[in-house]
Symmetry: C2
Subunit: 274 residues, 2 copies
């Protein structure tokens, strides 16, 4: 662990426009600069913020895809270097042989640190993307160890466990949570699952959702930053819409997995049994 | 699945007295009868309701332990037969060689259907109990398939996954959740984890907590019955104290793991990766 004790993390809940790559770049630059100006050192953007989410078909997704050397990540690299921040954001990644992945990039002042490819695909994504087969990466940064995964991945605690066991202090999760029915007084189950994943691992999680209707699909708009006990430090915003969630985290707290005199959340796992 | 479509489930949040086995039997009989009178067909009691929880030492626990043929389970068997209900409750179980287990019994009109021994031990329990090594049982009953596990087990979603994958429609969880600090406006993380475990498996969960201070320990008093999407149908009670939570469940809903046109929560697991 480095000497930086408190790290301000931002989740930028914005509304990308499907297919308008230039608009989405401008949008991401605006909120990245705004977050950094307010003191954020880690800035999380939604899933597929580079392209939008509701593709008409695979061909449209292919036409909007970029590599890690494409315009969106080139912009984020320049901003991360200029502002000395970490950016985590989602993009429609073109792989070899015209394959596509629903990916997230982690970029810091050094450049691209990792790309993660969503392993659990949602609904029509199965027609478009190849699922990732590599565990969520955990990267040593100046602020601590940061992992990332994407949206539906969060519904598989076995998958969340992997970066947690690899030592992630903070998990950044670009998401696009499609909205659905729920009891009106209840916090969305998507947020509840983020809380639970954090609490069973004593790991901070920053989940960045989107807003804006896109081809008939709406979103939970439930961006949230939770502490290592699973309680929200910022969000979920009740009113939805564009949100800039900011929370200052002492990431070193996640190094302590003890929750009683005799209990350690990771050491108490009965590894032989599951 | 049988023809019974709606099953009323009760969680009886009571305060056993440490060491007063006769009082605890009378207490359990009172609330089991009350729950059945109100229509409950499945009655869940807290962890260690037969003995109390905060043992002075292992010797005290040994002196309070019973086998499955002891007075507490004999009473529950008689009540289950008389009232034609299922009882799930916790007891301090004496094993061979004076070993002890923190156990739960499932009893129906046929008699004892299963005993489960807590696999993840909390704090001083490690000085008293032998941890169980067998997966949570899932029992075919007239109301559907019912599983059980105990308290801290719920913090290990890999463990909860086992009865879920074995087909449990309802998971009954006797708990004693020790109280601790949390943000005053937040639902306890213990309840949040129950919700998340239900939602990632589309499985009903009935968690029955206790109340009453015992040797300096207080409890969350957060009993809750959640639906297969993870939303509470009854509880958590805000005021604490003795509670009789009742909810009518259509357990067959848990047989459908689909959450979108293309997604099935269990089939979407990437089994080769974890």
């Amino acid at each position: 662990m480095n000497s930086v004790k408190n790290t301000m993390v931002a989740c930028c809940q914005v509304a990308p426009k499907i297919g308008d790559l230039a608009y989405n770049r401008t949008l991401s630059e605006r909120v990245i600069r705004s977050a950094a100006l307010q003191g954020a050192r880690v800035v999380v953007l939604p899933e597929l913020v580079q392209s939008g989410y509701v593709f008409a078909d695979r061909n449209e997704a292919l036409s909007l895809s970029e590599t890690a050397d494409g315009p969106a990540l080139t912009l984020w690299k320049a901003l991360a270097k200029e502002l000395d921040i970490i950016v985590v954001g989602g993009f429609c990644e073109r792989l070899d042989g015209d394959e596509l992945a629903n990916s997230a990039a982690m970029i810091d002042a050094q450049g691209l640190r990792a790309v993660y490819r969503k392993a659990h695909l949602w609904d029509a994504e199965k027609d478009i993307f190849s699922p990732g087969n590599d565990a969520p990466p955990v990267i040593e940064t100046v602020h601590g160890r940061i992992g990332m995964l994407i949206c539906y991945d969060l519904e598989f605690p076995e998958w969340v466990r992997l970066p947690a066991l690899a030592g992630a202090d903070l998990l950044c999760a670009p998401v696009n949570w499609p909205d659905g029915p729920r009891p009106p007084t209840e916090r969305p189950a998507e947020v509840v699952r983020v809380q639970a994943n954090a609490s069973i691992n004593r790991m901070f999680i920053a989940a960045c959702d989107r807003h804006g209707h896109e081809r008939g699909v709406g979103w939970v708009q439930g961006s949230v930053i939770v502490d290592a006990d699973g309680y929200p430090l910022a969000g979920p915003a009740e009113q939805g819409g564009e949100q800039m969630l900011l929370a200052t985290l002492n990431l070193s707290e996640a190094r302590n997995k003890r929750i009683s005199a005799r209990n350690d959340l990771h050491q108490d796992r009965r590894q032989g049994l599951y």
